[in-house]
């Protein structure tokens, strides 16, 4: 479990330094793989709700989301480079500080340490790095990446709890993520002219 969480942290931080959109999407896909692996640590789901959650993590987050966005960008022949955060020492230091602050926060909540501390630290780091991306980038793709990282952070945090949502609610939550990603795709398809990076005067 700790190994998976550390891998999740590496997948979170790595794409911040490699400024291509393919790396960002690969990062999202790997986050999905690791979320699935963390979920399966409990064993195979025995309820319908658990099965829907597995499909949410494995099919939607790992496969569909990155693949769908990748196809749109490929068709547009989008330039290879895409900064997730500004490529400078200040941003990288800030990202490092946020990861450090996440561990500090988790240490305060669970002073006894252990897997729970690492789990909370990884979820908090994912959330804060998602906000860092949203706060520093204004291109639609980078902002989408930030929002999807926040979605994954929430999923990781929820995996720390033993309870499952009732089936209709789990279906609803998964459907909302799917519809949101489809809406994101609509804006990405509109291209840079369709979604101005800065508000109009």
């Amino acid at each position: 479990m700790t190994f998976l969480l550390i891998a999740f942290l590496i997948v979170l931080v790595g794409p911040l330094f490699i400024a291509t959109w393919r790396t960002s999407l690969m990062g999202l896909a790997l986050q999905g793989v690791l979320l699935t692996a963390i979920y399966l640590q409990r064993g195979w789901p025995v309820t319908a709700s658990g099965a829907v959650l597995l499909l949410d993590l494995l099919l939607l987050r790992t496969w569909f989301v990155p693949r769908y966005l990748q196809r749109i960008l490929s068709r547009q022949s989008a330039p290879r480079r895409n900064d997730v955060i500004p490529a400078n020492m200040l941003s990288w230091t800030l990202a490092g500080a946020l990861v450090f602050a996440s561990f500090h926060f988790a240490g305060l909540i669970f002073p006894e340490g252990g897997v729970e501390t690492t789990h909370l630290a990884a979820a908090t780091a994912a959330l804060l790095l998602g906000f860092l991306i949203l706060g520093t980038e204004n291109t639609p793709f980078s902002q989408m990446t930030g929002a999807l990282r926040i979605e994954n952070a929430i999923a990781l945090f929820e995996l720390g709890s033993a309870h499952l949502l009732p089936l209709p609610i789990q279906l609803g939550v998964t459907a909302i993520l799917l519809l949101t990603v489809l809406a994101f795709g609509g804006f990405l398809r509109a291209g840079p002219a369709g979604v101005p990076g800065e508000p109009e005067p």
Partner: protein, 481 residues
Amino acid sequence: MMNLLAAFFPAAGATVAGVKRVRPRIVSMLLAIAAVDAALAAWFALGTPASAVVVFGGGYFVADATSRLFLLVASLVFLGIATYLWTRVKDTPALREGLERMVGFSLAFVSAANLAILSHHAIAGWIFLELTTLAAVQLIQYHPSPARVGAAWRYLLFSSVGLGLVLLGFACLARGMEASGQAHVGFFLDELAEAARQPPELWRRIGLVLILLGYGTKLGLAPMYTWLPETYHAAPPAVTALLGAVQFNVALVGVFRIVQIYRPTDQAVIGPELVALGLATMAVSVLGVIATRNYVKLIAYASLNHGGVIAIGLGIGGIAAYGVVLYAVANAFIKAILFLTAGKIEAHYRTEDARQVTALLKDMPYSGLFFMVGIFALLGFPPFGSFLGELIILSGLIGAGRFVVFAAFCSILTVTFIATGRTVFPMIWGAPGDRAHRAGQTLTSVLPKLVLLLALLAMGLYLPAPVNALFRQVAAGLGGL
């Protein structure tokens, strides 16, 4: 069963909106559905005792005072919006182009809003609120321009992040329930109420902070408010009215549910957070009101102010709770009247610049009158419901000994009044310009706004007993005296 019918009725319309044979009569269909929906909601709200609580739909929906009152408000506003669209299309047939898309998404929006209001499961309410957001994204981009697409994108982004925080907050509440040793973790409102009886602990506090912050995004509360003025300005007027008067109240019902459940045990978290968010929002809104000369943006910034007032009243509780309910309902009617009237004014003058619009009362007597009265209500003048609501919230602040908040509240309201008057009063009473020409307006086209205006007046002067009983019941649930 009738309760679910009221919620699902618009959804049935949404599914047939794209049918080819329906298209020529699409606006009439919208109007008919809105009228039936309003009649069902009125029957639903006033036909049962205010204190009655009925759980239905497998436990996922509830008919209590809060859901009945806000279902009525949403359906009345929607009827006003449908009539506005009907008259606009009648006056300008060119607007019929692509209208089935707007009608379909409007009906889907209202259906999801109704279901969110009726939800008895906190996360089900969240799902339906998200659905209103996704429908609204399509509505904002109706006849897309770069400004509209940009506004829709920022609206979607802020909403996704804000509602993500709400979901994270619910996950924290679940952790709290597990930490306090509860055998079952659930989000039905009665299960949450049961869990709230346990002593407060850290996860619950974190959860409440995140939920209020997230729902605050949908209410346009600082710090995540920047999407609101831009979206309200860029979207078509009917869509802005849907967002400001319907979706705002759907999100508010989400906040009401949380406050109703957690006020007795967690006022130390809820109170200060809501008061801080409310004051910060009022402060940023007044800056916007001072800076803008665009009358649509001005109303949008004033809407921020209203969100702030409601947050402060909710944070204080006690007698302010009744004022909050009165103010929230009045606020829905004011926003509907003002945004729809602003749409008519913009269509007539072809500008949103307040300096280009003069002698409104002479050029557009009905719209001028509605704009004037709407602005008076917006500024909290007597005898409207907003005045009474604001007065009760102010007395709540005094009663709670929150004198610093009271002083800040009054100062901001005074500056807002002056800044709004400086921009808007010349529009209404200014000398006629060179391009002025009188617009023909029929009484039928203003009838729904007249009904909303009468409701606004009734809230300040005399509320019929069954309606007042609903208001009191909702306020009592919020910790009102």
